[in-house]
Structure formats: structure tokens, C-alpha cells
């Protein structure tokens, strides 16, 4: 399953709850304010780094750029994709769950 998260993990618990409910082989895509979850060195990055052992993480590049987050500050191992990549992920996984 593909999970999308569009809330900042420093403001809401959407990402935390998502991570608690993912199974191995799933993917988590960070979009909109969810991209703050892809940043290195935040209070929440250890939670993401640990979850990355089980599931693949993706983040939308244009959403990072809008918020002034340089790609060099994204946690190593998170794939930076564009909107076409978003479409590819939706196609690749049988279903999608949005953590709003």
C-alpha cells in the first residue's frame, strides 16, 4: 500500500500514526507540509530513519523547494520525486491511504 502524509510531523501526529500502521513493503510519500518529515536533524527525523528500515520513503521535490528545504538536507535514502513520480507510485501500489 502507498501511504501519503501531508501534515508537518512537528505540528500533527499524522506521520507518527502512519508509521505505526505501515507494514513491510509499503511506501510512504511525503507531500505538502508532510515534506518537513524528510528533513535531517529535526526532533522527528530519528522516527523516520528508523521506519526506513521497513518501508520506502519518497518526498515531492517541488514541495521541498517551495519551503526552502535544500535537497542536501533531506534524510539519506529518501527518494526525491516529482508529480510524475507521484503518479507512478499510485500506479505501482494496489491502493493508497491518505493520512490527513
Amino acid at each position: 500500500m502507498l501511504h501519503t502524509v501531508n501534515k508537518s510531523p512537528l505540528d500533527r501526529n499524522a506521520l507518527e500514526s502512519c508509521i505505526k500502521h505501515v507494514v513491510q513493503g509499503s511506501a510512504v510519500l511525503l507531500i505538502e507540509d508532510g515534506v518537513y518529515g524528510a528533513m535531517q536533524g529535526t526532533q522527528k527525523s530519528p522516527m523516520v530513519e528508523s521506519a526506513m528500515k521497513e518501508v520506502s520513503f519518497y518526498v515531492i521535490g517541488p514541495d521541498l523547494k517551495a519551503r526552502g528545504i535544500d535537497e542536501s538536507r533531506v534524510i539519506d535514502g529518501i527518494d526525491i520525486i516529482d508529480y510524475n513520480g507521484f503518479v507512478d507510485l499510485v500506479e505501482e501500489y494496489d491502493k493508497t491511504q491518505s493520512w490527513l
Partner: protein, 133 residues
């Protein structure tokens, strides 16, 4: 008589309309010559990050507008240290916001003041009006 107004900003830009709305209210309010301060805490500190580029999203990048605040005599911009640290940010990640001090031969000074949560609590207490975004 001028009153002390504090605008409290706690939301990231772009994900919701709060940041842009706050900035617009601040600019409108600035025309009324009140004593205005801005506070940025929690995800609000993300509003002031450098290097925002929104062209691929098709929304307006309003971050350059913060640099105009100094020209409207809005030069008390308080950023909470704990909020920056929780997000792995430092002052160098934020826009350089300055104003010209008319009482000091128009010397260019920093508008951003880094404060602790405890200091910010005192600043909040000292206001006549607090507006939250």
C-alpha cells in the same frame, strides 16, 4: 493612543492559508501606527526560511514580503529558539530581516530577535492585543 499588538505565527507556509493571511493583516495594521511585534514559534519558524521557490507549485512565494516589514516600522520580530532547534534550524537558515533605526542615524539593524520560550511568554504578557495565526 497606540496599543501594543503581537501577531503570533505558528503555522508553516503554503500548507494552509494562515501564514499569508497573517502577513497581510500585519501589513494592513502597520498603516495604523500601532506598536507591532511578530512572534514566530512552532512550525511558524518555517515561514522565515531562506530560499523558498514556489514556481513549480504555481502559488505565490510571499517570503520576500517579510523583508519589507522593516520599511513599515515592523522591526520587532521574535523567533523562538526552542522551535528552531526542534526543527534542526539556526538563524543562518532564516531570511536576513533588517530595518533602519531612525534614532541611530538610520543604521541598519537586525529585526529578528532570538528568544527563549520563557522570554516569549513575557513578551506575550506585555501586549494589549494578541492576534493568533
Amino acid at each position: 493612543m497606540s496599543k501594543r499588538f503581537l501577531y503570533v505565527n505558528r503555522k508553516a507556509p503554503y500548507g494552509t492559508i494562515y501564514a499569508l493571511e497573517s502577513l497581510e493583516v500585519v501589513l494592513i495594521g502597520a498603516a495604523f501606527e500601532q506598536d507591532v511585534s511578530l512572534a514566530f514559534l512552532d512550525d511558524g519558524v518555517f515561514q522565515l526560511t531562506r530560499g523558498q521557490q514556489t514556481d513549480e507549485l504555481g502559488v505565490k512565494n510571499f517570503s520576500p514580503t517579510y523583508k519589507a516589514l522593516g520599511d513599515y516600522d515592523v522591526n520587532k520580530i521574535y523567533v523562538e529558539r526552542e522551535s528552531l532547534e526542534a526543527r534542526g534550524l539556526t538563524l543562518d537558515d532564516l531570511l536576513p530581516l533588517t530595518y533602519e533605526d531612525e534614532d541611530d542615524d538610520w543604521a541598519e539593524k537586525d529585526s529578528i530577535k532570538l528568544v527563549s520560550a520563557a522570554e516569549l511568554a513575557e513578551i506575550m504578557e506585555a501586549q494589549d492585543v494578541v492576534l493568533s495565526f
